[in-house]
Structures are given as C-alpha cells and as structure tokens.
Symmetry: C2
Subunit: 572 residues, 2 copies
Amino acid sequence: MTDCLVADRDIEFLLFDWLRIDRDGHVDRDTCRAVLGLATNVARDLFLPHYRASDVIEPRWEDGQVKLLPEIVHALREYAKLGLCGLGFPEDLGGMNLPQTVGMACHAILSSANISATGYTMLTAANARLLLECASREQIAHFALPLIEGRWFGTMCLSEPQAGSGLGDIRCRAIAQDADELGRRYLLSGTKMWISAGEHEITENIVHLVLAKVPRADGTLPPGTKGISLFIVPKILPGGDRNDIAVAGLNHKMGYRATVNCLLNFGEQGGALGWLVGEEGDGLRQMFKMMNESRIAVGTGAAALAIRSHRHAVQYAHERIQGRVPGQDGGEPVAIIRHPDIRRMLLQQKSYAEGALALCLYCASLSDEDSAEAGILLGLLTPVTKSWPSEFGLVVNDTAIQVHGGYGYTRDFPVEQLWRDNRLNPIHEGTTGIQAIDLLERKILKAEPRELALLEQRIRLAVARSELAEASYLLAVLDRSKEVIALMAQRPALARLQDATQFLRAFGHMIVGWMWLELAASAAGQADPLFREGKILAARYFCDFELPQAMGWLDSIARGNDLIVRTPEAIF
Amino acid sequence: MTDCLVADRDIEFLLFDWLRIDRDGHVDRDTCRAVLGLATNVARDLFLPHYRASDVIEPRWEDGQVKLLPEIVHALREYAKLGLCGLGFPEDLGGMNLPQTVGMACHAILSSANISATGYTMLTAANARLLLECASREQIAHFALPLIEGRWFGTMCLSEPQAGSGLGDIRCRAIAQDADELGRRYLLSGTKMWISAGEHEITENIVHLVLAKVPRADGTLPPGTKGISLFIVPKILPGGDRNDIAVAGLNHKMGYRATVNCLLNFGEQGGALGWLVGEEGDGLRQMFKMMNESRIAVGTGAAALAIRSHRHAVQYAHERIQGRVPGQDGGEPVAIIRHPDIRRMLLQQKSYAEGALALCLYCASLSDEDSAEAGILLGLLTPVTKSWPSEFGLVVNDTAIQVHGGYGYTRDFPVEQLWRDNRLNPIHEGTTGIQAIDLLERKILKAEPRELALLEQRIRLAVARSELAEASYLLAVLDRSKEVIALMAQRPALARLQDATQFLRAFGHMIVGWMWLELAASAAGQADPLFREGKILAARYFCDFELPQAMGWLDSIARGNDLIVRTPEAIF
C-alpha cells in the first residue's frame, strides 16, 4: 500500500476470480502471475522513482536531438530487455503469447507508477499489432519484429495542425515511386501534430505509421476519409540512412511530460520514404484497429491514475489528524478518515477508480474472446471504456487533492501531478465528445436490435443475480436509458448530438453500475472479509449515490429542449 | 473581448441594471464607472501582462528575502498608489467610500487578469475592515490607516501545521506583557501555515492578524475555539525594529503562484510582539468578520477565472476551423463553434461563469444593505457563494481546456493555468466540505422558520415574474429541497453530514437558477438583442439542463442510505 500503485491483489481478483481468464485451460495462471509480478517490480523500481523528476525536467530539443531524462531512457530500455514489449504477441514472433487482458493489467500497473513513461510502450504494442493484422509478411518481418522485441519503438501520425479530429482534411501527400521487397514505395510530405514518442534516442529506430493522401491525376487530394492511406515511415531507412523527417518543435504540456510530443515535418528535403500498408484508401480502417486498442489502453491508464490517487488519499486520510466528529465527547482530534465528508470522497473514489479498472479489463477480456457476442459488446463498450475512466478518473484525482487540503495543492504531494497527467486522457485518442458521437450515432443508433438486447440481457442478469437491495435501481436507469434512446432516435441529428456527451456519461454510469454488481457478486466468495465488504459497499454506494445522478442526466435529455443547437453563435 | 477579462459591459449590467446599486441616490454612477474603468486599465496594463511569467517564475527565498517577479511588485505598488486599497473605506480614513459591490466588481476584473496578484490586495482590504470593526481607535490609526492607504499590506494567520481547519487545536501561545497606547501587549510564539502574502518587500510593513491562545494559570492552553484570541503582529514594530517573525519556508503550489505562501515562525527569538484586539477569547468571532468577506471574495475570484476561461474558449471556438456538422453537404470545414458538443460546453460555461459572478455581486450588495433581511440572506448565501463558483467555476476551466483540445493541454494557451489557479479556491478560506457543514448545520438547520421562508419567498417571486417556460422547474427543485431538508433534520448528525456536500451542490444549483431568472428578467429590457438573448438562453439552459442534475443529487440524499458513515475505515 505504501507505494500506492495498482496492487497485485486487485489485479488477481479481477483476472482470476472475476473474469476467470484461465477458465478454458489455454492460459497458465502461474505464467500470468510471474509476468504481473515482473511488471510490478519494473513499475516500482524503474518507473516510479522518477515520477516527479520526469515532470520537472521536460524533454528538450538540443543539438538536433530530443534529450530525455536519463532515468526514462534507462527504464524503457530495461522494460524492452525484459521482453515486455512482446507480452501480447505470438511466440513464433518472439512474444510471450499472453492474453491482452494480462497485457492491459500490466499497462495499468506501470501507468499507476508513471503513465507518461508508458506512452512509448503502449504505442509500440498497438503499432506492431496493426502491422500484424494489415501489413505484408515482409513488412512484418522487417518492421513489426523489432517492435515486438523492443529494439524499435512505434508511433501513430494522424493529426495535422489544421485538422485535429477531422482526419478527412489531412494534407499530408504521398507520391508513388516504385516498389521493393517491402512493398510499394512513396515519397511523403506534410506536417504531423501531437506525435507522442515522435523522436528520441531510446531505441535505434522509430516506426512511424503515417496517414496521408495520394494525389489524383490533377494533383488535388481526394476529399474525405476515403482518400486516406497508411504508410510505414521509419526514422532510419533499411540502408541505414536517416529518412527525411524533421522535428519542427516540441509541445510543452501541463502534464504527461515523460512522453515527448512533437510536431514533425515529413519531406522537408524532398520526401520521406514510406511503404504503403495494404491498399490505397484503406488507411483509416486500418488505423482504427490500432485506435480501438489504444482507446482501451487510455481508459486503463486513466483508471490506474485514479487508483493511485485514491490510495494516496486513503493513506493521507488515515494519517492526518484534524478536528473532531459529531457525537465525540471532547478528547483528542481524530484522523480525518473519521469525517463523513472525507469518507464520502473516499468511497466515491473507490467506486470510480476500481469500477473504471474493472470496465477496462472486462473490455480487454472481450478482445481476447473470439466470439460474435464479445465483438458486439466490445464495439458498444469501447467509447465508454475510453471516456468514462478519463472523465470520472479525473474526479478521483480532483477529490484526492481535496482530501489532502492545502497540502494537496502543493508539489510536495503527488496528487496534483496525477491530476495534471490524467487531464490528457479525455483529449487524446479521440476526445470525450468524439467518443459520445461514436457511441450514440455509430454504436447505438446503427446497432441491430439483437446487439443492444445482448447488452441489456447481461445487465438484467447481473441485477437478477445480485443480493444487494440497491441493485434494482440499475434497472430503473436501464429502462430510462432505453426510453431516452428511443426519444433521441426521433430527433434530427443536430439536436440529438447536443446531448450526446451527457448521454455517454449516463450510459457509462449504467455500465459501471453493472460492473459493480458483477464485482460485488464475485467478491462474495473472497476469504478476506474487509476485501469482500469493500467491494460490496462500493457497489451499494454506486447504486444509491451515483445512479440517481445519471437519472438526472437522462431526465435533462428527455426534456427534449433543443435550445443548445438553436443558440445563435453571436450571443457568445 | 480580445483580452478575455471580465468586461465593463457585464459589470455595468449587473451593478446598475440588475442590482441597481445607485437606486437610492447615495451612490454616484459616474464615480463607480470611473473606478471600474480604472480597475480595468490596471488589470489589462499591469496585472495581465505577467500572468504567465508569474506562474513560471515563482516567489523564492533568497538572501533572507522573499524575491518576487519585479512586475508583480510594480503592479501592486501602482495599484496602491492609485488609492485602490481604500476603495471600500470611508473618506475620513482616506478611502473612496464606494459600496462593497463596486469593490467586489473591481476584484472580479483584476482577478480575471491575474488572480494570485490580487491575493495581496484582497487580504489587505479584509484585514483593514476587521480592524475598523473590532480594534481600538489607536490601533485603527496606527495599523488600519496604512492598509487603507496601501502603504502596508495585511495577512490572516489562522492555520497551523497540526491544525488546518480545526482551529480549536491551535498551539500558538500569547503571553501577556504590558500595555502601551496601542493596547495590551503579548509575546507570541508558534508556527503558522499557509500564510498568503506572509513575507515580501512590496510594502514597507506587513500587518499580520494572528490567532493565538493565552495560557491558563497552569500553563496549559484553553481547549476549543473559545480560547482563541486575536492579535495584531506587525512585521516592523512601531520603533522601526523587526518583529520576531521568521520565514520557515515557502510552499510550492500547483498554481496561484504570484501570491507568496509561507510557513511563518513567530517567536523563535523569544516572542513576537503583538497587540490584543478587543478582549481575550473573542478571536474567532472577530476573525469570522474577515472570513465572511474573504469568502465572497474567493467566490468572486473563482467566478472571474471561469469567465476568462469561457471567453478564451469562445474565442478559440470561433477561430478554430475543424470538421463538419450533420446536414452540411460537403464543403469546407467549419468553425468548431458549429459543433453541438462545443456549443453545449460554451452554454454550460456561460451559465456557470456568469451565474457565479451574479451570485457573488448579489451577496456583496447584501453586505452593502443595512437591513435584517439582507443580513439573513447574506448568512444563508455566504457558504454557497464561497463554494459554488469555486466548484463549478472549475468545471468551466476544465471544459475550456476541452474546447481547445490538445492545444488547451499545452502551456501555449492560458486555459491550463486558469484551471491550476482556480483549483485553490475550493480549498482556501474553508474547504467545500467546511462550507457544506456551515450551510446545513449552522445556516439551515438552526435557522428560524422566517429566515428560510424569506429565501423561499424571493425564489418564488422570481419564478412568478419569469416569462420563461423552463422557470417552473425551479419550483420543483425548491419543493424537493425542502423535503430533503426535513428528512435530513430527522437523521443523526453523522448520517446527515455524509450528504452535506451533495446538498450544498444541489442547493447552490437552486440558488444559481434563481439568479438566472433574475438576470433573464433584467436583460429583457436591454437594447442589444444579442446580449438580451444570451442571458435568456443561458437562463433557459440552466433550468432545463442543469436543474435536473440537482434533482438527481437531492434524490440520492432522499434515498436515506447511511452506508457512507457505516463503512468501516479498514476497507480502504
């Protein structure tokens, strides 16, 4: 408890007691445990010690190089040496062949120690997985294997300064050249913004996966997202020469600073050499494979920061002596955990942080399952898993500052940095607003009836099985959600979209309420009465204190007032 | 609009059209306007330019001195030279004799430029006002006049490292010595924590108002808050010698950095000389006079930061081109203000930020009124005015980051600093949890029936007069609040206190809903249709989109589950 990281104990409960990832015999529990233990050691010994230093000493651009804090470079090289980059990859490619769920659990542990140091590894794994799914055998051998081995790291290059989330408007151009054994070669030129891990000296090479457009015969770029293609653009070319990629600047962030974030210019000297992945025009579809995994990873990181903040707050609340409670007859001041308002914050934190992590690992377990049902649920839950932990995890970071009082506002305690680090998560890999559109427009309103019925069935089953009196409130939220979905489906798209984020929040609360009923049921069999009681109390708290709030959000949507989209822009 | 500060236009609407502070002829509108204009110039020319620099270059302790950014020193000296420290004080004491409401409006304007630079002036004014109310004529002449003239600045020294909000447990000792023309003299020893403006070279002297206890005959300190006395402890003694006050350290905060914050040791060399204010044991009551004013000032600062963040977000949303909206047939990307989710955030921001400022100035106007009714309302509203702008203003700062996307997360834009600066406001001058206890236990449950009836009457009147269809929802919230108050009154104190903060939030939403109905009604007479429409739309938004959320919070309390206080501490 003293290091406040995501604890083995909690991970084991989630993976083995609740999700039972080893239920079909394909997964060896001892191997998983060994890897989780390794991740914990790496987190504690290599990632945590420079948590503050990596915030104070930012990456800087000096003598034509990105200079990182040496401890970050050391930690990531050790991580790679231990083979952890290959954790979720097949053994014949040099990986450990472990489930995604275990990989995501390791990501949680490491993120709780220093989330921005994990930025490099998360991108590298997602990059390699995309190549395995979409690239040619030669491309995999040349580019993906070094990523899995951890000799090279990867990036994803989507955004451009003039087009953030609007990828259809990217202007990066790719001009076809010739072909070699690695595929069709293009010369790329354009500027990419917000490139995490875009330049560094940790590894000998960096594999950029770049979205660009191939001009039409008249030289213009094809409009919209259908004209987007995906290219592999390495920092160092196969012959050993540097590719035509220049760092145009580093972004100076409010947190998350161990991950260097760059503005990259491709093709300043005539063109950066890149190899097409798959076919022209297929880039966005391919990139989304990487983004879905990344979105679960972002949620997991957010959940991990929430858990660490919660643990710091608990520790402080046990230690800090101040004030007295009603009913106490004089006597000495008490630990602040005795104050009702502090308890309220701690219980809310627990319900948010542990509920968020459960949701993320549940989603990871769905991606390990090879069934149609798992695919349906994963699609529905991905926008929630990206955004709910990011939004409500941040509430945990915020109340952790509050529990610490003035001390929490100083840089002598880590809770302020945890807030700043987590604040990135509602933004990158698709903002909360983008996730809300994805959930409502793509995942719910375009779903087949059986898809939503599947989710409903799971939730009803959890309520039916629950022994908690408070569980029935979840059914009320479920019914109200269905009514609100039906109402929204009748409204014009613009008017509907004004409420999409509020709906995402309410829907997320419903999903996390369901997670809590599952966790409470699983915890019932735990030997440790405090562990068991903790899960049950958090579940009861969530139903009775959080779900009414979600009902309020649904009610506001149900009122059907479309004044937000009718508001003239000029009034602002 | 380009500087994004609190605008003259908005202040004039609030002060003259809504609150009609000049309605009885005692206040001269032109004088008020001149002073507000002066404050705007000072804010823009002297406070705003070093907003970022005062964050980057923190106060530091060097060669036995606190070194501040020179621009901060210059700005505050100019502020003092212009006579602005005396804004709300009688002319015969060298002041301008303007209403508190005008002073608070100036505080809003200056806070929107650089809130932590206003920390010095806010404390100085509150310090002087306390002395005028509680100190002797000689003490006023010697200590308060230089504060009003701006030659000296003031502080309040309450907290100690072992006793934050628990003032009954302070250990600072005051040993009676003798008396001189300034009153009874004591030697003080002890450590005071979180002393804003505790040491600097801006002014030639600093007047510390220090809470301490006079030991009993047996040498022990009297227990509880009744044993607290108040002392004037100047940095420089009347003879010109330095008093026995040492800086033990500076606190390094996550924001609000222009205000130096100190750990001060009193009496390291035998005792700091202090003069008793009034009688022994009367210290907390006296200090509360200062704290109530400070609490409204904290709310006002929070509202000002929210307004500035909102204006930056609006500006960015108008300028930033990205994506397309449903129903748009191809064509060029649009300004992001066209996106429903961005509008939702902007309208919520407007309703929070402008509603918060209205509440603060309403409270300031109550403190200018000399009536029993005003006193009752002021007492009820002070905890809301301290906490609601602090909590919901922070939401505005947060969504302003979100509107800016990745750019908002960088230090190239001011919105991240505005969040960090505002994060102090739910903590200092009594945390939100403390305000919640004050509201529920002291202000509501101990109120006479006619006091709550007065508030209810005002709210019902505003609804009755409103032309907005959405206004009726406020009555539903009012009725539900009354039910919840009745329920809470029946519960044991501990169980009731677990829900105090949630109740404060809901009650605050109700109060701000009332403010919005008033603002919308006042705006109906405005000539500028966009200004008028903006107020009306924000009022309608608040009723239909925000009040249902408050209903959800009330519903969660009404469920009456006391599991938070029943939760065993060991589960965490």
